[in-house]
């Protein structure tokens, strides 16, 4: 796959992919690192995608594996990834400074446009891990029930049960807030 084709693919999918990562990873710096890994894997693997599953569920599995791999990585590799030098000669900022910078930017954005979104994510964090995963898949990633079933390998009844519980809890959290 050449760069132009991949760039077109990114234009179409980058928001969905980043949303998948960002809703599951709290630190923005980590989300960017994982996004990079996922895009590299996609670049290498898109040609071999056989279409047995839907592209969206295939990307979801890639994202899940990349997140798991990222947090399994040994400490020395973390430092290497974060202190890499870019092609323009600039080096990435130290982790803490970068994180604080990003937090300032995202906090400003949140104040201006999207404070509610950040707050909603904090409520989602209060769900159990399974409930959180199904809730994010259904409502934030925009998967249908069948796509969730294909992506997770669980049957529809299990998925619906988790979703009912999670939506009920979220309604309660939102009522408490209001």
């Amino acid at each position: 796959m050449d760069h132009n084709t991949f760039a077109q693919f990114l234009d179409q999918w980058q928001n969905d992919i980043f949303r998948m990562i960002r809703s599951r990873v709290n630190a923005l710096a980590d989300a960017e690192d994982i996004m990079q890994e996922v895009l590299l894997k996609l670049y290498r693997g898109l040609d071999s995608f056989r279409g047995e599953s839907q592209l969206k569920t295939w990307i979801y599995r890639l994202v899940k594996n990349a997140i798991a791999d990222y947090y399994r990585k040994p400490w020395w590799k973390f430092e290497w990834v974060r202190e890499r030098e870019f092609s323009d000669g600039s080096k990435s900022q130290p982790v803490l400074e970068q994180y604080l910078d990003e937090q300032q930017v995202s906090a400003l954005d949140a104040v201006l446009n999207n404070e509610q979104g950040e707050h909603f994510l904090k409520l989602v964090d209060r769900l159990s891990p399974a409930e959180k995963e199904y809730f994010i898949l259904r409502f934030l990633d925009g998967f249908s029930l069948l796509q969730i079933s294909e992506a997770t390998g669980k049957n529809l009844n299990t998925i619906k049960t988790h979703l009912y519980r999670s939506v009920k809890k979220m309604r309660t959290y939102l009522l408490e807030e209001s």
Partner: protein, 178 residues
Amino acid sequence: MNSSLSSSTCEDHQLTVLIDGEQCSPDFQEHVSSCPGCQQQLLRFKQKVNETRDYLVPSTLQMQRIRARVWDEMERKADRGCSWQPAWTSALVLGCFILLTFMIPYHFPPVAQVALAGPSLYASADSLEVMADQLLPGTAASDPVWVITLSGGVPEADSMEQIDEMIDLLIPETGEQT
């Protein structure tokens, strides 16, 4: 009681519509479309979800940075002839050098050293006793080593008389007495 039953039914309808989405049965859809309370609740929930989805979209700056990192990594991997990283290769070469220089000679002395040690050791021996002591340590001092050679190992007799005297001395003539 009637109102609690109604709110319970409304909640179930809302949950079903939210979770099942388009696959929800028409009865539920009809109820929700005719109930202002359900419509308000659903609208509020969907609004929260949409705000969060928007919040999770990467900014243009973020995406440019991630793309730059991805292109940079792709070029770096394309430039790299093999998957061995230079640092690892250097470390491997250094490790082999240390092993060959310091470790192996202690366990496996070279053949040339043994060959040189042999002649020099025996050249220092100035007598057969010393040599015997080297070969059979502890026995050479007490037990004499007899070496018989053709040239001078056995004493020579000057004449037949001397030989006879020698024989007489060694074997007394017992036959004459009888």
